[in-house]
């Protein structure tokens, strides 16, 4: 097994709340500078920049998983992480069918679609920051059906977290892991870590600007960066494991 440093939650300039500097080349270079071996690109409710960041990463030597940070109807954020762009685009299709409203760039920010050499290709006009009409149970099962992994975001935070929105993690929800935010502390939970129901824990940067990259990551002891290996590491199967940094 090799120790891969992974950050499963990074935004690009497609997310209205992210800095415009979060272009494919900037993201990839900054990640390599910080010693990351792989990342997942997870913009809000869209995978439209994943292809560009994947290709920029492939050229410069960073493995990039295509992902989406999905906002459920309960306003719970969760990551959907896939092996290939087709799976992410299929998930995006389901999201777009259940996402209403148009973005107001002046209020929420621009949603810039770029290519792998940082050229602007267009602007996404949907209200990506909004919530979908999909409930969290449906989201987790659709992500699994498409072969991805589903991680509840920043569960230590009061906003947009499964514990904040639903009070506790529903016992029959088949999440693959929960994410602690970069400033998250395991001991910070009222009622202790048992509120996480024994789910595997990862930590990630949730980077919205280049300076955020590297502020948190997770070590995956796996053979190669792929969804199946990550799933095994989360479940501590066949010698795979994770360590949160």
């Amino acid at each position: 097994m090799k120790n891969f440093k992974g950050d499963l939650h990074i935004h690009s300039c497609l997310s209205p709340c992210a800095e415009l500097e979060m272009s494919p080349l900037t993201i990839v270079k900054k990640c390599l500078e910080k010693g990351l071996d792989f990342i997942a690109l997870c913009d809000h409710n869209s995978a439209e920049n994943t292809g560009a960041v994947l290709r920029a990463g492939a050229r410069l030597g960073l493995h990039v998983f295509p992902g989406i940070e999905i906002n459920s109807m309960e306003e719970i954020h969760s990551l959907a992480i896939f092996d290939n762009e087709e799976q992410a685009v299929r998930m995006q299709q389901i999201i777009y069918e259940h996402l209403h409203g148009m973005n107001s760039p002046g209020i929420f920010g621009e949603q810039v679609i770029v290519n792998e050499i940082d050229e602007v290709e267009g602007f996404n006009e949907r209200m990506l920051i909004g919530s979908t009409q999909l409930n969290i149970d449906v989201i987790v099962s659709e992500v699994h059906r498409l072969g991805g992994i589903s991680i509840a975001c920043h569960v230590d935070r009061p906003s947009y977290s499964i514990i904040g929105q639903l009070g506790f993690i529903p016992p029959d929800l088949e999440l693959d892991a929960v994410e602690l935010s970069w400033r998250g502390k395991r001991e910070a939970f009222p009622g202790g870590i048992k509120v996480l129901k024994g789910l595997p824990i990862v930590t990630s940067s949730d980077a919205h600007s280049p300076e955020d990259i590297g502020r948190a990551c997770t070590s995956f002891f796996i053979k190669s960066p792929c969804v199946n290996e990550i799933r095994m590491a989360l479940q501590e199967k066949s010698g795979r494991r994770t360590v949160i940094n």
Partner: protein, 115 residues
């Protein structure tokens, strides 16, 4: 005042939990963040929310709430209905907003906190 009285007075549709219609209502609460409801709702409260996930029934049971009203036309899924039925907690539906329905309930005298 009983849940049953409020249901008929305000024309609320009963989605599940008819067993609990004779519960006493002594307070009210509005909230869509379940962590906030757990922290702040008082027992015996009728709870107005747009959150329809089945966790609402567990929260209502935990806090001994009198009933749940899904406002703004939100509908419960089968899982939420089944839980409410199982716990005997009335799950009522309203097309009005939390603000409007809470205003009417307040005027009807459900305001023990102000006594």
């Amino acid at each position: 005042m009983k849940v049953r009285d409020i249901q008929s007075e305000f024309n609320l549709e009963l989605a599940a939990g008819s067993r609990g219609l004779d519960r006493d209502v002594s307070d009210g609460y509005c909230g869509d963040l379940l962590s906030d409801v757990i922290a702040n709702a008082g027992s015996g409260a009728i709870w107005l929310t747009i959150q329809s996930h089945q966790n609402i029934v567990a929260v209502a049971a935990l806090k001994d709430l009198a009933a749940i009203v899904l406002v703004n036309g939100h509908r419960p899924d089968d899982g939420t209905r089944a839980k409410a039925e199982e716990e005997g907690i009335p799950l009522l539906l309203s097309s009005e907003s939390s603000y409007r329905l809470a205003g009417k309930l307040f005027c009807a005298g459900i305001d023990l906190t102000a006594v």
